[in-house]
Symmetry: C2
DNA sequence: ATATATATAGCGAAAAAGGGTGATTCTTAA
DNA sequence: TTAAGAATCACCCTTTTTCGCTATATATAT
């Protein structure tokens, strides 16, 4: 038996969800709320396994609510259901800790299936949503792919690494057991290879291109 | 009509896929290969919309193959099907440009449905896979969550931003229409709040904690 | 054998950054 | 109304960085 709480501002939809859940073997609707007032109290009084969460609601929106729920009830699975296809919503929902993200066009059976899946550790997603997630994921990894080969030598990489860690020339010299002037030499060469002319630029470029 | 090419080393499975595809209205198997020798040539000779790709194959594996396909035929959708649940495989498959990632346990109908979905721009994923993707995604964003509140003021944030971009004090001053000494003042305060004492340290911390 | 890349090192000058102190104005919160 | 924080600017002084030029030893590859 999966206990489900529903957050949905549309009265008709909310009551439909409640009905579907209670009519189907293995599901029980332990709460159905139009908004997130007394969110935590309601969840505390009516323990559940899965929350079916609408994003667009008066007052606190579904993403804020998800964040709150995951903070206080990390074991509750939150299944987002929405009409929004925007990257920002998807992105924020994931960050908030949502376990699944489905579009509202799903059939009644689709909802039950999705609820079952989140309960058993899966993350049901409308394929279109999944595509956006993959794209967002790839976009976040881009710097790795873009990493240009700057042909830094081993010693230069070490110097750059130490520079990124915030060391002064003096500290780098003693760290690598070389003279101060050698460090200066290396850094000159690094700047030339990276086409920069200050430490901050070099560090910025090094981190963003995952050189270190 | 969706034209599909199959890469699968298991003879029985491969022939089954071919049969299922050709027996079903709307699908056509235009190629079925046990490995990736002559991969590009085969795809060139037998144009297709979707590639059903096995990961585990003799010779070139499915992820390498996906990378190659997406480089030369960016419009072909690659649907990975595998028994592997490991993060590394999922991660690399996404990076390689796979459009979907399903487990081999899927039913025949599941395959056809998944193929239809990739063709129409979706990314079908087994819910368990989707969960891993979300987790990987969140793991990559961790620094944002860890971002400590350093209580930088708006102006300080601007200065830090410009510092990260590699600007000198002088440049920052002219950029913000304030005096050189004001910039110094702000930077002093920034360093104090960030507990650092050099530009390189500040930049490193700012980027790693996604302060800018 | 000779050219190239790497790591090392030094000197000197100019520019930039870092740290201390103090002060003014303006806004906002107690 | 007073206190606190934000943003601005100035002066002084030290340290660090940056840049130009030079130079040597070692290894590697042509």
């Amino acid at each position: 038996m999966i206990n489900v709480t529903v957050f949905e501002d549309n009265k008709h939809l909310r009551e439909t969800f409640e009905l579907i859940l209670n009519l189907n073997e293995g599901f029980s609707c332990v709460g159905a709320w139009p908004d997130c007032s007394d969110l935590l109290e309601n969840l505390l009084r009516n323990p559940c396994d899965v929350v079916l969460m609408d994003i667009e609601m008066p007052g606190m929106n579904g993403i804020e609510a998800t964040k709150l729920i995951k903070t206080h009830f990390p074991n509750i699975h939150v299944l987002i259901q929405t009409v929004f296809f925007e990257d920002d919503f998807i992105f924020n929902a994931i960050c908030a800790g949502a376990s699944g993200y489905i579009l509202k066009s799903t059939t009644p059976d689709g909802y039950l299936e999705a609820i079952t899946e989140v309960q058993s550790g899966g993350s049901p997603m409308t394929p279109g949503i999944a595509r956006r997630v993959l794209q967002l994921f790839k976009a976040n990894l881009q710097p790795i792919d873009n990493a240009i080969e700057y042909n830094l030598t081993n010693q230069e990489k070490k110097v750059l690494q130490l520079l990124v860690e915030g060391n002064s020339y003096k500290m780098i010299a003693s760290e690598l057991f070389v003279s101060f002037d050698t460090v200066k030499s290396h850094i000159r060469n690094i700047y030339a290879k990276l086409h920069v002319n200050s430490g901050t630029e070099a560090v910025s470029l090094a981190i963003k291109n995952k050189l270190v």
